[in-house]
Point group: C2
Chain length 396, copies 2
């Protein structure tokens, strides 16, 4: 039976196996991979996970094992009200919705909003998983220019005027892949632009809590609540294996998102939602977050130091105040696919940056480096190997 | 901001708020609802859930908290091999894939296979949640006729010849909503038809283990593995709050399903998958299942008895060998929406059967009754009230 002949038209948009092949190589046990995007297992709250489980079962009993509301586990939605107030986001429990990882609300946004050919505006570069979520709905992407301070508001304004996108997908805080954070001024400018043009925005914020230095700025959502779907996640501050995220959205948008979610998974796991409830309502989040930061900050500092030592002067890279990634750019002749191959020979891996652009011609001389998974020692070794690999290719 | 003006074309297909409104009424605390589709909390394995949690953390540690493979938690896929062999389904661990409840593979099948206007063949009646999963992909449904023994193979054959559907969605064992089970002979006939016509089938089997009497028959998948996507679930034998299902599918189909799933939720919760692993690999499933059956069988018997006592002679209903539902049909003049309203006045609720048909004109005199959630005493009271409500409307 020729199963491929049955595929829907949209499915040809979902291929993109190149990065899969690349990451398979990086999984070889002799290779130090800076290619991943996972938290360190050391940052998981193993010392009190049993206590959270006990509290969840004591408080919720069989409710934590039963189907729950598509909108979310009631106790978690209540607990998220205070949690979000800490981000200046003022909502009631009825206005916070839970998703299966923040990934699943990206899929739902594509589903309810995007007809084939509709435009989605994305930062250049942007989160690869967002493109994978939107692709099945056959959008046309338009790129928003960025500089070292994140997206350039004037470029967003131009993109809106020229392409009238269904929405713009933005990740303004410690963005994956660049680590960049949008300044308060630019946030206000973005809010002003989207309010004036009535443009919907997804503000994806999975990394915001991982701040190692610098000053906090409120989400764009707080300046334009009618235009912004703000998404947060427990994956980076608790554990990604729980698959719990949440979002705040304008009323009509969240009503459609719930209908979409009901068709996809009925509801997010009640048990993992009950654990997240206890994690924030029991004060564990506030106690645990500083420990995560104490694990990641030194790793990032080591990586930045070693890059200064081993990368050629022709390279530049970001100096993020938080998050999980550093983004480096070489001179135009730095072909990252060649550097990747040379890296594999030298037992180090990363993700070539071009995968993070909706335009396949962009970002050929860029790379994303993760610093959360490896030990400081492995980071030193990896960056040394990577520096050598770059020099080998550039001088070759 | 007028958010509805942003909606995609497909979203108008996702409305169907009538049943939502109806079930809201049924949630009133003074009403006994036979409208739900949930397992009884009494059937949850509360006496050993702590032990399962302990085993999962001891065996898998931080692996149960980390991202895992989109295909599924490796230990669960291994454990499912033996579990599926008990259903005559012979596959390796690489061929079993995990989903976020079996609901999410229904969405993924729609996504990878259905272009707008493509046909999907469904039983009349069929599972409402399947329609909700497929609707966003804008299919044209064609109904397969059923009789008291489930779908009629000749009707399936005619539907395939006339409409060439992308796939047929079937639930051959203790179907939701009717409770009907397809005989071994008909299973073989269906397999023969889909093999001959190269038609893809989803064989949805969440209830198969809940057998109270009668003889087991192997899944259609075992007779046509190249044509069938077989889906199972932990929701009815363990707990729906875990959101873990699984499926077996032809190689090319499962490759596309994984790409679709990656965009939607990256992976199903590692923690709840680890619990399911211990549930089956530790022998808990085999010990626990008889207890569930001992809870549900008497409830079903009580409901059937009381229906005989209180329903008018003009009604007929199914006598399922298992599952969670009984399906009743009245004479043509039995308008179930009126009976529903009268039922609410008498403090009893059910789901009018018309919601389970893709054709809105079908099933106006039918109803679905759930027997798993309520106590035997409440079932007696509910059926008495329902019988009175029916008589009131029919004589009115």
């Amino acid at each position: 039976m020729q199963h491929d002949t049955f595929l829907a038209g949209r499915t040809r948009n979902m291929g993109s196996s190149a990065i899969r092949e690349i990451l398979k190589l990086a999984a070889r046990p002799d290779i130090i991979s800076l290619g991943g995007g996972m938290p360190s297992p050391d940052a998981f709250p193993t010392e009190f996970i049993d206590e959270l489980y006990r509290r969840a079962m004591d408080h919720y009993g069989t409710e934590a094992l039963q189907y729950t509301r598509t909108e979310g586990f009631p106790a978690l939605r209540k607990a998220l009200v205070d949690h979000l107030a800490g981000q200046n986001i003022e909502v009631g429990a009825d206005e916070v919705f839970v998703t299966t990882g923040s990934q699943s609300v990206l899929d739902a946004m594509g589903k309810i909003l995007v007809s084939p050919g509709d435009h989605i505006a994305v930062e250049a570069p942007t989160y690869l998983g967002a493109l994978q979520a939107f692709n099945p709905y056959e959008p046309s992407y338009v790129q928003i220019d960025t500089d070292e301070y994140g997206l350039i508001p004037e470029s967003l304004e131009r993109v809106i005027a020229e392409h009238n996108p269904k929405f713009a997908y933005l990740s303004p805080t410690f963005q994956n892949p660049t680590g960049r954070t949008l300044s308060l001024d630019r946030r206000k400018q973005v809010a002003e632009i989207i309010r004036r043009s009535d443009t919907l925005v997804i503000e994806d914020d999975p990394y915001g809590a991982l701040r190692y230095r610098g000053e906090w700025a409120p989400p764009i959502q707080t300046f334009a609540p009618e235009q912004v779907v703000y998404t947060g996640s427990f994956s980076k501050v608790f554990a990604p294996g729980l698959r719990v995220g949440y979002y705040v959205a304008p009323e009509r948008v969240r009503q459609w998102l719930v209908i979409a979610k009901q068709g996809v998974d009925l509801n997010t796991s009640s048990l993992t939602q009950a654990l997240c409830t206890e994690f924030i309502a029991g004060g564990y989040h506030d106690r645990h977050l500083p420990k995560i930061i104490e694990i990641y900050r030194p790793k990032q500092e080591v990586m930045l130091e070693e890059m200064k030592r081993h990368f050629p002067d022709s390279f530049t890279w970001t100096q993020p105040d938080g998050g999980m990634f550093i983004w480096a750019e070489g001179p135009a002749e730095a072909d990252m696919e060649k550097i990747y191959e040379e890296g594999i020979r030298n037992k180090v891996a990363f993700v070539p940056g071009k995968f993070f652009y909706s335009d396949p011609e962009s970002g050929r001389a860029t790379m994303r480096l993760n610093f959360t998974v490896n030990s400081e020692e492995n980071i030193r070794t990896a960056i040394e190997r990577l520096g050598a690999s770059i020099r080998n290719v550039l001088s070759g």
